[in-house]
Amino acid sequence: MIHLSRWKVILLALSVVFGLLFAAPNMLSPAQRDALPGWLPKSILNLGLDLQGGSYLLLEVDVPAMRAARLNNLAEDARTVLAEASIGVSTISRQSDGVIVTLADPSQMEQAQAAMRALVVNSPTGTDRLVQRQGSDRLRYAFTEATMNSMASDAVTQSIEVVRRRLDSTGTKEISITRQGADRIVVQAPGQSDPAELERLIGQTAQLTFQMVDVENSIQEALNGSVPPDSEVLPGADPRGPAFYLVKRRILVSGENLTKAEVTQDQNQRTAIGFRFDGAGARRFGEATAANIGKPFAIILDGKVISAPSIRSAITGGSGVIEGNYSIQEASEMVNLLNGGALPAPLKVEERRTVSAELGEDAVSAGALSTAIGFGIIVLFMILAYGMLFGGISVIGLVLNGLLIVACMSLVGAALTLPGIAGLILTFAVAVDANVLIYERMRDEARAGRSVIASMDAGFSKAMATIIDANVTTLVAAAIMFVFGAGPVRGFAWTLGIGVFTSVLSSVLVAQVLLAFWLKTAKPKKLPIAE
């Protein structure tokens, strides 16, 4: 255990190089970082909003647009389901909370009512809408009063979650997202984060739908004004493809059924976006593709047709690839958007401003002073308790630990708030625990009358079992919190996991290598920390 093994020295050297490489960008100015060659890491550790301020966006949830879109969906649902049941419709008129369908033939009332009841039952909650008979030939299909009342508030709540997932999926960036008033959201992001990028990420609703292309009618006629009632004209997203498409209004599958999107490659090794549907989505997509072999379908994102491939065979596996002309960066941004879910309503940016730090200057300097004192206490205490050699080795381990933590946090572009820094100092205080466990074991063994080498050897091997048990327990907790948690809990889990990993690696490895070196060169007769 204690002899100087080559792989341990190599591992130690590698972690020092890794730490230096990923922590170094923090020392450079933004201009110097931009000038670095592409393969070098560039992301840095940010300071949180409490310490340095950042950018502020006031967003308004476009509730009227969302209401209109949802009423539109009601009308489309009714039109589709009645057409499928071969029931004639004379008009569909809109009201503030729903639609009124007037039947061409009142004798079909019973069938019509049954068909539309099925819509209510199949809706996401089954209770948010209702169907009522009005007179002999009219049916009212509308949202309930409770749904209408909570629609705006639900949309804001949902938007906040989507924005959080898009901007801060690891929960480490300390972005604050709060509701303001009835229909506004305030987003504050720390530091020099690019407001234009924030807006680009928030500005798209990321509504993904799959619809059939209308091949029975001509796009030319539709552009001239005669659009068939169950189709719509949509612009194409690819400038090299057709400018407009005529697509059926009926949505085969939408982004709500998406379980995962990822960056992948198509057959021609070009960047593409892979996606996977959940069970219901896979079934519907399978049925639709089986019934329409040979016909083209359109993949539509935010009202623009991304591509319109022809169906070669039924796609039953529930997964597929969207081919577009993407750069890797565009593709990964889109994957992030699709995985974050669609916004229920468009968000309008009302104000964009810069904000200063939440804490006053006194608070920031008090925080800096106290963390410095805290670090000093650990160093002093370890050296006083265990002496220059053993204590000093723990301090070297701490420095490596700090370097590795900064490197790992920079890697994900994490932000450090004042409490976060205080937590880090506490991590250091607890990180010496591994050293203390090892040293105390060595003292136990020396007291039992073993030689210097034997007691150091036994100290290491026995303490390792304890160190592993204690830290695996914490690591398990961190992993679970990262998987299930969101926002700050997730960020905490990330920091905790990193801290456990780097502290064990650095304190144990540094102690083993340096003590083995000391043993080899000084050939001590007595353990300095034993009586």
Binding site: V355, F375, V436, A470, T474, V489
Partner: protein, 327 residues
Amino acid sequence: MRGWPLIKLLPQKTNFHFVKYARYAAIVSVILCVASIVACFVPGLNMGIDFRGGASLEVSKPAGQVVNLEEVRGAVSGLDLGDVGVQGIARRDNNIDDGSTAIVRFQVPDGRDQTVVVNQVEAAITQATGEVTYSGVSVVGSKVSGELFQSGLLALGSAIVLMFLYIWFRFEPQFGFGAVAGLLHDVVLTFGLIVVFKLEFSLTMVAAILTVIGYSMNDTVVVFDRLRENLRKYKTMPLRDVIDLSLNETLSRTIITGVTAVMVLAALAVFGGEALFGFSIALMFGIIIGTYSSIYVGAPIILLWGVKRGGAADDAKPIKLGMASRP
């Protein structure tokens, strides 16, 4: 130099009879836990703006003049509304941060009319800084949405269950129960302290509680590890003596690690200013309690429950200590 390194001064062998006092400690722990749980409902946690939301308004002076943030903070804090946030922001008309505009966030205490509170806040600010314009008065929601809160609880619950299973697997079921009981004890008492000292419960406090959980677990596992080793080593020694021996053997480590952490936190609490005070106090208390619970909650549960080991009569038989016991 004599006596240096100082570790030599720490007696290597102590003989404290920890288990003897376990009964009294248990009574104290139970009383404190019950009191803490009750205190969480009456008077209840002092929820901060992170959880409850509040109101915000914008304070501005004409371009070129400066709104003194500290004066505003002092004026609003004087109203005793709870958590107050004052943050400089760029002017709305030209997005230039010249110090002439600030956002003030504050809580509206339960049962008080928002308009009245806003008027009070405006009056206090005007008195402190002179003529200013107010705009953009609005209700702000909590930083912690319902979904975030639920997923956080789910994450925490699953983490505790998994730690329990891990300890069960590595040691024995009663060790798992002991560790989780210790952990819950520490969390409950930390909540109790937060209520008693009227510390503001914010997102930072959540981080403190999570850290206490991690420390408590870590500390307990170190003690259990030695206990498991000694149970294997001294097969005929009565269980209570093995527990005492293990606690004494790990005592120097418990003290050094605990003292390091507490000293650092004391520095943060004393020198760190208001922003770190509540956080450091809660953590310091949690770590002291976590150390206590490893000795007086985790280990006694094992004594109460008993451990399967070779009987005194058949000392030669190997003892089985869980599925993953090491040779």
